[in-house]
Symmetry: D2
Subunit: 140 residues, 4 copies
């Protein structure tokens, strides 16, 4: 598991004054990208140089409590299932100040050759990163 | 059921050149808002004047085929289940030019008093709108 | 001159409840893109197939009156100056319901070969489009 | 003067693969907000609790060199002019890795009572923050 923290920004709330619900998936994506910081060039090099991506094929979200401008979100991410071409990531979103659970998310990604736009076997170093974050089934 | 069409905008793609996956939920939200065009002042008046919102409590997405800048998305939305305080909406996202299925989504919303930030019974006119779009179980 | 109208969306307001000021430039870009609808494939084909872009080199904005969720913005765009490699566009943003001026903008773009990432002479059809929208100096 | 650094995110590039130009103003806003970190509750408390905002009335930008996904932007912000109700901020955007200048910006804000939506005298603590970042004329 790894965690990132990031403030809810001024322009990320909606007309109801709450973090726009679609942005939870963007926050999740930031947390997933952070997993790859340990690779040379990180997630950007994976996408732009090696042309390997991890697009979502499925996502399930439960929203528990809203986040607002001024809140800092803490996002915990782990890998729940790891295959040869795909992985399922799990996320918990909390308000950092008091730990209140804001949302949970499950996110299935498929390793993709961005030139061919076709699924491909996960490169060994990518798979090793995900394997290091593989969580016991009961964690999330 | 109702449908909206909207182009994928220049700034809505990601560094892989594809519509950023989190934005499917934003597109879904636009389609849901369009259901309320028949009410006086539409969805904005519901949110800003009557202070009634429909925040998501759950969302399930399957991503089938990417959309790109230059594509027009067609989003079909129907109501799959209608309760006193909540509703489940169903969406199909297609590339308008050829009808290719890009994604499907299920989206459960709870009618919420935005002042109290607490769930509330759906106002009759809101429920009537959703009821008119209630789909046979087999549609989506 | 040409005009587009587009509603301010639920997620485009900021924590002060106003259209986030940075998005005026995004709206301007939409209006500029609309100028090229008359070309085969429109602005997307220019960017993605012909790999010709019009990135901004300068922008000057004056903000007069805020826009809110529920407002529809009308954006008038014209070309104020047309060179061989660059053009200056002028914009007026109004609230469509009553014509109140929300903002004005000047936007200088340089025709760019997106493969070489270097300025280039404007293709004749691109220049012809801009020339048709060249405004008398006094218009904006 | 103060500085922030922030990576260009995966979803912040446009279909030309460059940081979408409208987002420079969003980055500038983040840097301005950071100036107020020293106040109790920071910029969010100013907006949400005290209902005092600093909306833009004018902005002038020059774009020198694009930023891309994988780049980290460094934004230097200073105050160039300080009045009783308004201030002019100056920004320089650089690619953090090598210091290449990406853009410069001038941003005039007016202190605003967000309840009355009318300009107001700057609260002393807000003005004091801006005064501490007042730059010699020659800096930017």
């Amino acid at each position: 598991m790894t965690s990132i923290e990031r403030p809810v920004r001024f322009e990320e709330v909606d007309a109801a004054g709450l973090l726009f619900f679609a942005l939870f998936a963007a926050y999740a994506h930031e947390a997933m990208a952070a997993l790859f910081d340990e690779l040379e060039g990180g997630y950007p090099a994976l996408i732009l140089k090696r042309r390997v991506g991890l697009p979502a094929v499925a996502m399930t979200s439960e929203f528990k409590s809203p986040l607002r401008f001024g809140d800092v979100a803490r996002i915990d991410v782990c890998v729940r299932r790891l295959g040869n071409r795909s992985a399922e990531l799990g996320y918990e979103f909390r308000r950092a100040s008091d730990g209140v659970l804001a949302a949970t998310m499950s996110h299935t990604v498929v390793c993709t050759d961005l030139v061919a736009v076709a699924s491909c076997a996960m490169p060994p170093d990518v798979r090793a990163v995900l394997d290091r974050h593989l969580a016991p089934v009961t964690l999330v």
